[in-house]
Structure formats: C-alpha cells, structure tokens
Amino acid sequence: MIHLEKRPQPSQFWAGFTPILAVIATMIAGGIMFWMLGKPPLEAIRTIFWDPLFHETFGPYSRPQLLVKAGPLILIAIGLSLGFRAGIWNIGAEGQYIMGAICGAGVGLAFYPSESVLIFPAMVLAGALGGWAWAMIPGLLKVKFGTNEILVSLMLVYVAENLLASVSQGLLKNPEGMGFPGSRNFRDFPAAYNTEIISGTGMHWGVAAAFVAVIFAYVLLTRHMLGFQVRLTGEAPRAARFAGVNPTRLILFCLGTSGALAGLAGLFEVSGPSGQVTIDFNSGYGFTAIIVAFLGRLHPIGILLAGLLMALTYIGGELAQLMLGLPAAAIQMFQGMLMFFLLAMDVLSHYRIRFNKTVPV
C-alpha cells in the first residue's frame, strides 16, 4: 500500500528536479499525442526541441526568435511569480499586457513623426503605467472591498480585448492605412521603434528588460525585506500577520508590479516584433506566462530557463506546423500538458512516498 507522508520542509532536490521530469513526461505524452494525430512522434519532438536551435537551414532564422518570444514570457512571469508566491492570483496579465501596449503605443503615435530621443523612453513609461493601472483595478477592489482578484483580473482581460478592438479600428487607426484596421507600423517610425540592440540576435529592449527583471526579482526575494514578506505571506500567512506584514501594501505591490511588467512586455512587443497595434497582436503570452511562472518554480532563475524552454516550444511548434503539418493547437495542448505534469510531480517535493502499510501512530 502506497501512502504519502508530508515532509517537514519541501525537498530542495525534488523542487529542482521535478520540472525536468515534467518536461520529459510531457515529451513522452506529447509524442503519443502526435502519433495519434498521425505524425511521426520522434521527428515531431525533434522538430520542436532540436531543429529550431541546431538545424542548419532553420537554425539561423529560429535562434534569434528564441529571445524574441522568451522576452515577454519572462517579463510577465517574473511579475506573476511575486504575487503567486504570496497567494495573490493575478491571472489577468493578458489584459495588462494589452493595456500596456495600447497606452505605450498611443503615446508614441501621438508624437508621430517626431524624431526626439525621448519618445521611446516615454512610451516605455506609458506602457508600464498602463499595465500598472489596469492591475490596480483588481488590487484596489481587493484591498478596499475584499473582492476576489482572480475573477476581476480575468474579467478585465475581456474588457481590454474589446478596448483593443475599439482603438485599433478607431483612435489609433493609421490615418494613411487605406481604411484597414491597425495602427501605423512602428517600423516606419524609427524614434519609437524597439530595435534589436545587437543585430541578428533577437535581443531587443524588451529582452534586456526581462533580464533586468530577473536580476531585480532575485535580489528582491533573497536580499530585501519586501521579498522576505512576500515569501513569508505565501508560506505562513498567520505568521506574516503577527510579524506585522501589511497585507494591503503587499497586495498592491504584487499586483502593481506584475501589471507594470506585463504592460512593459506589451509595449515592447507592439513597438518591436509585432510592429503595430492590431486587433489580434496579443498572442496569449499573458496566459502562457502563468505556465512559465510555475515551470520556473516561481524562482527568478527558474523562470528565465522556463521562459526560454517555452519560447522553444512556440518556435518549434511553428516549425513543426510548417514541416509536418502539425496543428497549431497541438502545441497549445502540449504546453497545457506540461503544466499538468509539473503540478502532478510537485507531490514529490512536498511529500515522501512510503510503501509500507503500517502507519506510525
């Protein structure tokens, strides 16, 4: 008879090892899924995880994409992980991402065709503020009225999507766009364009911001009082209250930071890789980032690696679509499976498996 015994403390070893196990399990289950879809499983797995990096023809094109896709995922996931650690569930990052993009792009487009060097920094600021403000709605409602932040932040995603539809066909529509929906393309607006810092690597300002966020989060969580309070609130809420942690401040800090980072991610995406505000420029990064945050064990370094891995599945998925005709949705499912395996294996870090029947009294 198998039974589980709670560990006095989560195992450090298993906490680091379960993500790797989960990835392997997902590859196996994914392979079975691809086989059921009538695709060669091994080839599909290789196309997703190996070819984007090392294939001689596709590699040079795919490798820069890795950073382009990982940047926003890491940036958003870092913010989310702070809240998740403290038991504050912002699941509306997608909405904050959209609002950041709208606000940032709006500021940039308002000054078209100025060539001032201040435009891009102003856009970055507006993007962060837009995301922050959008996340403050569930934040303030939670601290003022105790409203559930999960539902409010999620509802605001749909509100943001409708706003995006509205501005891309109205307020921010390209006046010279022949009536097509969508804003001016930032590629034709150099002062506001989020260019590659090092050409040919995919390293744009958003990726740089993601790396900075990783470092800041690491320092915050390991060296700063606020980071300690975040961890304490998540692990022992009662102890945190006795220790004098101010829950209001913590909720606003966690939601505000994650909103601002998601807003930044949106701005960098819309002014760079995507290039314009369109009705569907957002590609669900806000939701995928939730998986990234968990896959990275809510730890900054882990999130960095998880973001890169998840970016790989995006690029590899596109490649597999091209080469093997694998449906795009299969990759989405693949990412969902990863989350499941991860949560399932988490049991190993919190519990010991015992095989004997006798239970200590």
């Binding site: 509802m155 749909y158 998986i291 989405q332 499976m337 919190h350």
Partner: protein
C-alpha cells in the same frame, strides 16, 4: 437608434436561452465548491464540452447524443483535475488554471475539422396548453428541452443539498474536511464525485453554446462564460436558487446588449460587448461589500489524511 425594434417579449424569451449555459456551469461549480474544492477549470471543461458535443452531434445527427457526450467529456476532463488535486494534492488554483489552458488547446485541436459546419437543429418543445398562454407562453414554455433540463438540475441540486443525507455529508466535507474525515466520511470520494458532477454540468453548458445558442463551432466560443459562472457562484452565496437568479440576471444583460447592438444603438459595439464583464465585476464588488457569507469553510484547502 430605434429602441422600438426591441421586442420585450422576444427579449425575455431569449433571456432563458442566453442564461442556460452559465446556469448549467454555475450549478455544477456550486456543488464542487460546496464540497470544499475550488475548480477554476470551468472554462476549459465548458469549451471541451462545446466541441465534443458539437462533433458528436454533427456525426450522429442527434443533439441529444451530443449533450450526453459533452457531459461525459466534461466529467472526464474534470477527473484529471480531481486526481491532481485530491490524490497528488496540487494547488487548486494553479491546477484549475492549467485545466482551462489545457481545455482551450484540446478544444481547438478537436474542433479544427468542424469549423463552419452547422449543428443539427434541436426541436423546440411547444408545450401544448402552457405554450398557448398569451405573454407567458412564449417566454416560459416554448424552449428547447435543455432549458427545462437545466431547471430540473437546479431543483434536484437544491433538494439533494438541503434535504438529503448525501447533501449533508457533502456540505460537511466542504465545511470541515478534518471533522468529516474523523467521522468516517470518505472525503476524497465525496469530492471526486462532486468534481465529476461539476465537470458534467460544465460540459452540458458548453454543448448548449455550440449546439443551440450559436449553433456552430467557433474556436474560443465560450468567451469567458466559465469564468462568469464562477462569479455567479460567489454572487449566489453558494445557494442553488440564487445561482438561478444570478444566471438569469446575467442572461438578461447579455441579451439586452446584443439587442442594443442589433438595434444600432449610439453606443459603440465594443462598449456593449464588454458590458457583461464590467457588470460581473460590479456585481462582485457589491457582493464583497456584504462580505462572503456562505463560503464553505474548507474551500480551496488541501486535504491530507494522515490516518
């Protein structure tokens, strides 16, 4: 704008149709939460129910078979959640979110070949005598069978939860799982059954969207209905009849905004389209002002029996 185009009778009649998917999902989730489990995967189970119900409905030509298949699919998916949460003791919030993301992917994978097809039509019940009553007849008694099935489910849920021993045990497990366990009740089994019921109801709700309400398959077609169902459970203070009230109020808003769009109201379409979500937020705020009375004591907590 011509408000005269909006026929209040038709408006009220379509209210019940608009509310049914959310009602089904919400009543299922209310039972799950009453047993002490928070399943945030309602949206994922609904969309899976929608696509499975549609696919089976199209292939067999029978919407009824489609509904049964959708309920089975929703329940099957919910078991994934149940095993993770109850046996592997994973975080309920994270697992529910994972279920939604997984369900969205699964549904678009299954649904690809069915895009653009039309659902087999479901005959409306024209209840002989009642349907002929002026005004009330068309509003209440000329719908498809699923509208009445959903009402029966609400009534049965209310009866079982409040008037039977099984309901008492379920509520006990939800209020204090340690005490229920000490009394010898099988906490995990009760919760697993509740989760399966919730999944089946969400599946039915999803299938109602794709088979009756729209009726075709569009990717992501539930558009947050599962999340709204979760909000309605909170609004209803976990009581079955209030779930009905909440769902119908919400259905009313949805129908009204659709009618305003069709009537060419001066309000931009996007503002109207976002109104159901904004109203949900406002309702949540009003409810939280009053305090969350009636939330089951063990809601969202992990149960681990040591003996």
């Amino acid at each position: 704008m011509d408000l005269g185009q909006i026929n209040p009778l038709l408006l009220l009649a379509s209210l019940m149709v608009a509310a049914t998917p959310i009602l089904l999902a919400a009543i299922g989730e209310a039972v799950v939460e009453k047993s002490g489990v928070l399943n945030l995967g309602v949206e994922g189970m609904m969309i899976t129910g929608a696509v499975v119900g549609f696919a089976i409905g199209v292939n067999t030509g029978s919407p009824a078979v489609g509904f049964v298949a959708a309920a089975a699919a929703g329940a099957a998916l919910s078991m994934l959640f149940g095993v993770l949460v109850l046996y592997l003791m994973s975080n309920q919030v994270a697992t529910g979110l994972g279920l939604t993301l997984f369900g969205l992917g699964l549904s678009s994978l299954i649904g690809k070949p069915y895009e653009g097809m039309k659902a087999p039509s479901m005959a409306k019940w024209d209840i002989p005598v009642l349907g002929d009553i002026p005004v009330l007849g068309p509003i209440l008694f000329r719908h498809d069978p699923m509208v009445y099935v959903s009402l029966i489910i609400v009534a049965v849920t209310w009866y079982v939860l409040t008037r039977t021993r099984a309901g008492l045990i379920l509520r006990g497990v939800g209020e204090n799982h340690d005490a229920a366990h000490a009394l010898g009740y099988k906490v995990v089994r009760v919760r697993l059954l509740a989760i399966a019921f919730g999944g089946a109801c969400a599946g039915l709700g999803g299938a109602y969207v794709s088979l009756v309400r729209v009726p075709q398959w569009v990717e992501g077609m539930t558009a947050g209905a599962g999340w709204i169902a979760l909000a309605i459970v909170v609004f209803a203070s976990w009581r079955p009849w209030r779930v009905l009230l909440g769902a119908y109020l919400f259905g009313g808003i949805t129908v009204l905004q659709l009618n305003l769009q069709a009537a060419g109201a001066a309000i931009p379409v996007e503002i109207l389209a976002m109104s159901p979500y904004v109203v949900t937020i406002l309702v949540l705020v009003v409810i939280s002002l009053r305090g969350n009375h009636g939330a089951p004591g063990s809601l969202g907590r992990i149960f681990h029996a040591t003996h």
